[in-house]
Subunit: 306 residues, 2 copies
C-alpha cells in the first residue's frame, strides 16, 4: 500500500510519517518545505510543492492508494485576520485535490479536521460528533467546509474518507513560533528564560492530545475502511492554568505567568467525546499529559542545547 | 433607511428592488450588469461592479443601513463542474463584503441562501431549519459556508443578519437560458415551440415559490430586527411531472416531455417547513402555483411577442 502524506514534513505530519513507516508502508510526502528538525528520511519519496500556488500534480498521486491530508497555512488566530486568504489557501487547494484524486482513481482520504474549532461555543460537555457546528473562526469554517466537500465527493463519486477532528495536539517537533500550540510555546519560552503569557485568566480548558496518539489513530484510519467524521482527543480537559503549573513543575523554573486580554475566538472549554473513534478503530489515547509534557521537554532541551 | 441590493439587477433582485421601492426606501444596486428585461429604474443609484474581480468598494456601502446580498455566479449544476471557481467567485467575495461592512459600520445583512441544496438528501419531510446539513452540490456547500461566516461575524463583531434558505423561486423575469429554474425554462421552450426536457422520470418534487412572495419576505427581513436562518418556500411540494402538466394546460400546447438521465446532485424531494419565517415575519405565501405560472406565462408571451 502506498500512502501520500500532504503536509508530511510538519509537526503532526512527521509523526504520522514515522508511524506509517513503522508499519512498512510505502510513503510519498508532499510539502512546501522539508522537515525543520530532521534530515530527509531514507526510502521516502519527497515532492516539494506548494499547494497554494498550483494544484497537486497528477504525478504525485500516481500509484497512491491512500492520501493523508494535513497541510494548512493557517491557525485559528491567523485565519480570522484574513478569512479570504484562508479560503484561497486551504479550501480551494483541497477541492482541487479531490478532483485530482478522482482523475487518478485514488479513493481513500484521511483528512485532519479540527475538534477545537468546528463546534464553536460548546453546548454540551464533552462534545460528541453530532454537536451543532457553529465555528467562530475562519479556520473552523474552512475545516467544516472541507468535511462537507468530502461528504459530497463520497455521495457523488464514491470517495471513502475519514475526517479526524483533532483537539490540541502537542509533543516533540511542535513549532516554537508561538502560534502552533500552547504547550510547545511554553516549553520553548522556559528554555529561553522568557516570560509565560496567558490569553485571558487561564481558565480556558482544552483537550490536549499527545501527537503520538494522534498519529496512531491516523494510521488506524489509513488502514481501515471506516468512513465519516471522528473526534480525536484525549477526552480529558485541562485548563491553561493547570498546564502552566504542570510545565512549571517539570521544567523546575518559577515563572508567574503574564496575563494578556482574552481572544474573542477562544471558546471557554473544549473537551471531546472520543467514543466513536475508540469503537471504530480500537484506539485508545495512551500518553497522559504529564509524561507527554516531560517527553516534549526532553526534546526541547535537546534542541535548545540545554 | 438606505438599502444596498447586491445582485439587484437579477431575476430575484429585480423583484426585491420593486418591493423595497414600493415601501419608499432609498436604494442602491450593485450588479455586474444592468437589468436584462427592463430599463434603469428612476431614483435608484446603480453601481456597475463585478465582485468576482475586486471587493465591494467602500463607497458603495457609504450611508447604507442594510445590505441585501443575492449575487451568485453559479447554479447547482455549474457549481459541481468547477467547485474551486464557485468558492473563488462566491464565498471569497462574500467574506470580503463582511469585512467592508464592518469597516463602514453597516451592521444588517439579508443573505439569500438555498433551501433546495443546503440540506442535501432529506431525512424528514417537510424540512425544518434544524435538519442536518449535508449538501451534495458545491452551490449548497458555499451557501452553507457563507451562513457560517455570518454566524461568526455576528458572534465576534455584532452583525445582525437573516439568511433566507429559498426553495425554487419562479416568476416573471426568470432567465431563459435553461439553468435558472424549470418553470421559466419550460415556459420559454413552449413559447419557442421547443421540446420540454425532464431530468429523470419527473418524480422529483420541489417547493416552488413565487418570486413576489420571496421579495415580500425579503423586505420584511430588511425591515425587522429578527436574526438567524429561515426557510423561504411555499411549504407545498409539486413534482416536475405535475409542473409539466399544469404548464401544458396553461399554455394550451401538447408537448410530451423528453426524458433525460437524472442528475446525481438532484435530491428526490425538497419541501420546506416555513413555520419559522411565518412566525418571525408575519409572512404568508400568497400566490398559488397555477395562477403564478399563468402570470409568468403572460410575461413570457409578451417578451416573445406572442
Amino acid at each position: 500500500m502506498k500512502v501520500l502524506v500532504i503536509g508530511g514534513c510538519g509537526f503532526i505530519g512527521s509523526h504520522i510519517v514515522d508511524a506509517l513507516r513503522s508499519r512498512g508502508l510505502s510513503l510519498r510526502i508532499l510539502d512546501r518545505s522539508p522537515e525543520r528538525f530532521r534530515a530527509a528520511l531514507p526510502g521516502v519519496d519527497y515532492v516539494l510543492h506548494d499547494l497554494t500556488r498550483s494544484p497537486v500534480p497528477d504525478a504525485a498521486l500516481q500509484g497512491v492508494d491512500v492520501v493523508v491530508h494535513l497541510a494548512s497555512t493557517m491557525v485559528p488566530a491567523t485565519s480570522n485576520s484574513d478569512p479570504a486568504a484562508d479560503i484561497a489557501e486551504n479550501l480551494i487547494p483541497t477541492v482541487r485535490l479531490l478532483e485530482a484524486m478522482r482523475r487518478q482513481g485514488t479513493r481513500r482520504l484521511v483528512f485532519l479536521s479540527s475538534g477545537g474549532t468546528v463546534y464553536g461555543v460548546p453546548q454540551r460537555d464533552p462534545i460528541a460528533e453530532d454537536h451543532p457546528l457553529n465555528p467562530i473562526s475562519s479556520y473552523g469554517i474552512v475545516k467544516l467546509a472541507v468535511e462537507k466537500y468530502l461528504h459530497m465527493e463520497q455521495a457523488l463519486h464514491g470517495l471513502s474518507y475519514v475526517a479526524l477532528r483533532a483537539s490540541n495536539p502537542y509533543g516533540p517537533r511542535q513549532g516554537r513560533t508561538g502560534v502552533q500550540g500552547v504547550i510547545g510555546t511554553y516549553l520553548w519560552r522556559h528554555a529561553r528564560q522568557e516570560p509565560i503569557e496567558v490569553w485571558g485568566d487561564g481558565s480556558v480548558v482544552r483537550d490536549f492530545l499527545h501527537v503520538g496518539d494522534l498519529a496512531d489513530l491516523c494510521v488506524r484510519a489509513v488502514l481501515s475502511d471506516q468512513t465519516g467524521v471522528f473526534n480525536a482527543g484525549s477526552g480529558e480537559g485541562t485548563s491553561i492554568r493547570e498546564v502552566v503549573e504542570v510545565i512549571g513543575r517539570i521544567v523546575g523554573r518559577e515563572a508567574e505567568p503574564v496575563f494578556r486580554p482574552g481572544r474573542s475566538f477562544d471558546v471557554p472549554r473544549v473537551v471531546l467525546d472520543v467514543t466513536r473513534a475508540q469503537e471504530a478503530f480500537g484506539w485508545r489515547c495512551r500518553t497522559a499529559l504529564a509524561p507527554g509534557i516531560e517527553e516534549t521537554w526532553g526534546w526541547v532541551r535537546q534542541q535548545a542545547g540545554l
